[in-house]
């Protein structure tokens, strides 16, 4: 039986991390060399964590399925990274960032973790600038900031539209420095397929070489998973095509609890799908809503081109419904409103699956030049994809899956419920509650990697001093290797008729339909019937050509899709059990009279952490109660 102890230090909120750092055990430099830490993933969290641990003197092994650590999905983040520097003198502070994040997360995150995140945010900027991250600057040579949704201060640091890229390249460069120094061993194109535990503790991992198919095991004293989010369970998302949940899921099956899987984030401004073969969705920065006006034709039968629809026949629905926030309501509210318009048949575009985001008024007000200055690169990107010129005709946008707040459950030390298995970055559930504010995922990934793991992993390792780690010939490793090889054999032997992509797409349709922007009891229950049926079809009718001992994209996909089936089911189950609406999770049964999300703090103010209980059995739910001592809990309103 698992007990959920978050191990939150005592003391006032702003002293918890400080005193915890003092209380944690240290490992002396000579002993650090005796410990091996495995890092799975080389995104912001993984690269920064691996480099920092290696700098301290631990032996670090980094695995990534990418061909280079620099390709991790973090590279795609556009908008920026938050930090409570208060450079703008506009009233920002660590406490305000803490407050905004808790409120943005709809009071479903841990106060202690979020406060620590806000404290560390300032160090991240220092660290990145020292590494040479070329953040945008003012003419005076000092750092520039922009504002982001959901807050009233300017605290977002950015590097053109490529903040994630620049931060990742910074972390990657420090990682490569350690690789060059020989303190980090780098294993590209190796996919982790199992976590090995001995006596209930982390002992290592099993990985598959994607080029040769060779399955090998690696022993370590601690394993860190920094493997990113599971947004691709929806098939179509803004995530990179290869992003997947396999590492987290296999750890879950070995005993790590999975928390809040139903907390998924939908981004309102993405380019709508153009055909059934659409492979992924492209995000258009949230900043567009600062000047663009969102509308649909009043009459669903109106098929005139947008420029010919007179003002009187347009419905600027956000401005109508939320007069005070207008087009700038938070992501979840804007997304749901767009969905409702499309569901009512008022969608626009050839597939009637979008709403207009119109800059005509902004161009008139600011002049084309100014609009170009602010959004030129986004307009160009849009034009390139859709072949429509946003200066002439309104953009079409529609919400898409973007981020997953849920993830493996971790305590204050970022350790999962398996001792010695740590989880960092988007892969853990820790800091964003039921909704993430813009520009805070990058912050969390780097805080975890640079400033938390080096301490907490050390603290764990200090307790292992003098103990030898089990070798890879231990029966647990042999068994895990067999399991992985067996899976490959199974996929290759089904010899059905359909590709893994086919099943992934079908799964995505179910997920989006029933657990997308709005969730209902009936729909979720339907999904719980549909997914196993599709899953059975997958087991019977999958076709993987080729062999297991060469580069085989479909084989890789098959393993990932298999895990998405199980994770998807858990997501549905979690959504079904959470009979309230909060953040990105909207149950239509739980709404105010005018269709706003309604939380139920009395019954659901907890983290829902699920325990794997065996193949084919529903997971068991554990609850970690959330208490708010520093912030007054209130219902959100954007009217």
């Amino acid at each position: 039986m698992v007990t959920l102890d978050a191990r939150i230090p005592d003391g006032p909120i702003n002293e918890k991390w400080e005193s915890h750092r003092f209380n944690m055990r240290l490992v002396n430099p000579a002993n650090k060399r005796r410990f091996t830490v495995i890092m799975i993933g080389s995104g912001l969290a993984g690269a920064s964590g691996a480099a920092s641990l290696a700098e301290l003197g631990y032996n670090v092994k980094v695995f990534t399925y990418h061909d280079s650590p620099r390709r991790a999905h973090s590279i795609a983040a556009q908008g920026g990274i938050n930090a409570a520097k208060n450079y703008q003198n506009d009233g920002d502070s660590v406490f305000r960032l803490f407050y905004d994040t808790i409120k943005g997360g709809d009071f479903r995150s841990r106060e202690a973790n979020v406060h620590r995140l806000a404290e560390l945010s300032v160090n991240i900027i220092d660290q990145c600038v020292a590494q040479g991250v070329p953040f945008a600057r003012e003419y005076g040579g000092l750092l520039d900031n922009r504002s982001f949704g959901g807050v009233q201060v300017s605290r977002t640091f950015y590097a053109r539209g490529q903040t994630g890229q620049q931060l990742l390249l910074g972390a990657y460069s420090t990682l490569m420095r350690q690789v060059g120094l020989g303190t980090v061993e780098l294993f590209p194109r190796q996919e982790m397929l199992d976590v090995v535990t001995v006596d209930g503790r982390a002992a290592g991992v099993v990985v598959r070489d994607l080029v040769t198919g060779e399955v090998s095991s690696h022993a370590a004293h601690a394993v860190v998973l920094a493997t990113g989010g599971y947004g691709n369970v929806y098939y179509l998302s803004t995530n990179a095509k290869k992003s997947n949940a396999t590492a987290a899921w296999r750890a879950h099956k070995r005993g790590a609890l999975f928390a809040n899987p139903c907390y998924t984030q939908i981004h309102p401004t993405c380019i709508p799908a153009s055909d059934d073969f659409q492979s992924k969705l492209t995000l258009m920065s949230e900043s567009l809503r600062n000047d663009g006006r969102i509308w649909v034709p009043k009459d669903p039968a109106d098929t005139r081109p947008p420029n010919q629809i007179p003002e009187a026949d347009r419905d600027y629905y956000l401005e109508r419904m939320y007069p005070s926030f207008g087009n700038l309501v938070p992501r979840d509210v804007a997304s749901r409103a767009a969905k409702r318009q499309v569901d009512q048949g008022r969608g626009v575009g050839p597939k009637r699956n979008g709403v207009y985001l119109d800059f005509a008024e902004a161009i008139q007000r600011l002049g084309r030049k100014e609009v170009e200055e602010r959004y030129g690169n986004l307009f160009e990107m849009y034009d390139r994809i859709t072949d429509e010129d946003p200066y002439e005709t309104p953009m079409r946008i529609y919400p898409a899956i973007h981020y997953t707040m849920g993830g493996l459950w971790v305590d204050y030390n970022l350790m999962s419920s398996i001792p010695g298995v740590f989880v960092a970055g988007e892969a853990n559930f820790s800091d964003h509650g039921a909704n993430r504010l813009g520009a805070s995922a990058l912050m969390q990934g780097l805080a975890d990697g640079y400033f938390i793991l080096p301490y907490t992993v050390g603290d764990y390792l200090a307790g292992l001093l003098g103990q030898k780690a089990p070798g890879t010939d231990h029966p647990a490793f042999v068994e895990a290797r067999k399991g992985v090889e067996e899976q490959t054999r199974r996929f290759l032997s089904i010899k059905g008729t359909k590709s893994p992509d086919h099943f992934h797409r079908e799964l995505g349709k179910i997920m989006w339909e029933q657990a997308g922007m709005e969730r209902s009891k009936a729909g979720l229950e339907q999904a719980l019937r549909d997914i196993p049926a599709l899953r059975a079809d997958f087991d019977r009718d999958l076709r993987i050509l080729g062999t297991g001992d060469s580069l085989n994209d479909s084989l890789e996909k098959a393993g990932r899709v298999a895990d998405f089936f199980e994770l998807g089911e858990l997501l549905i189950r979690d959504a079904l059990h959470r009979e309230e609406s909060c953040g990105g999770h909207l149950r239509i049964e739980s709404q105010t009279e005018d269709g706003e999300a309604m939380r139920d703090d009395e019954h659901f103010s907890y983290v829902g952490a699920w325990e794997w209980t065996g193949d084919g059995q529903p997971q068991a739910l554990h609850k970690e109660a959330l208490t708010f001592e520093n912030i007054h809990v209130a219902q959100r309103s954007y009217k």
Partner: protein, 250 residues
């Protein structure tokens, strides 16, 4: 720096194509042990060559002033820096510098060419479609040797004289006229100079990149310089055989 050992099958599959020198030579020879250094030497020696070619061409324009002027100029060359130095010393010094420059230029050209071949052992199996690389830049490795062969002939023809039956030491004007009156020689001369032009059209631009002379506000001048330099040199040089063949000179 630690030479990282290969950590996976992926990495092990990539082996260096160029061996690093075992021993670092002392500065400045160590520059020549690297490709960027060789390219730098190429640019410097190219500039020396360009300087020579320019002087050579301008000097030869004396031809239009008549035999006496040209022959006098040839004598003058022997007397550069005289009487500080004995006669011909400065000329030999210049010949020395030019020969060393030529040897270095040619050696680095071949060694870079070999390196580039190793860098792509298996070429594209479908047709390449170049966008920026122009005809001049892609034929450097052909125009160079053409110039070299021509140079050998040119020396044999007009400096040492054994390729010119009417050769007579000191009678520069007559030698030139006698040489160019043979039509094949004139044609060879013109073709070689066109090759030189192609070589310079790229080289005189490229050397700025190699030397690190780059300032975006005046970069546009680099292309203009190369075109102008090429036009002047080739125009001047080609005019000589034409002048001889058309009887303007002779």
């Amino acid at each position: 720096m630690v030479q990282a050992k290969p950590r996976s099958t992926v990495e092990a599959a990539v082996t260096p194509v160029n061996r690093r020198p075992k021993r670092q030579l002392p500065w400045p020879l160590n520059l020549y042990q690297t490709a960027v250094g060789k390219k730098w030497v190429m640019a410097i020696t190219g500039v020396i060559g360009m300087g020579f070619i320019a002087l050579h061409m301008f000097g030869n324009l004396k031809m239009y002033l008549g035999a006496a002027e040209l022959d006098h100029y040839a004598v003058g060359l022997r007397e550069i820096a005289y009487p500080i130095l004995p006669k011909e010393n400065a000329l030999w010094l210049m010949r020395g510098v030019l020969s060393v420059a030529l040897v270095l230029h040619v050696h680095s050209a071949f060694s870079l060419w070999a390196m580039n071949r190793r860098a792509r052992p298996m070429g594209y199996q479908s047709k390449r479609d170049y966008i920026a690389a122009n005809w001049a830049s892609r034929t450097m490795k052909w125009t160079g040797p053409i110039i070299l062969l021509f140079l050998a002939f040119h020396l044999a023809d007009l400096t040492w004289g054994f390729a010119n039956p009417d050769f007579e030491h000191g009678a520069v004007y007559n030698n030139v006229v006698a040489s160019f009156e043979r039509v094949p020689v004139s044609i060879l001369y013109i073709v070689a100079n066109l090759a030189l032009g192609v070589h310079l059209y790229h080289g005189a631009w490229s050397l700025f990149q190699s030397l690190g002379v780059n300032n975006p506000s005046i970069n546009w001048l680099r292309r203009g310089f190369a075109a102008l330099f090429t036009a002047v040199i080739v125009g001047g040089n080609i005019s000589f055989p034409i002048a001889v063949l058309t009887g303007i000179v002779g």
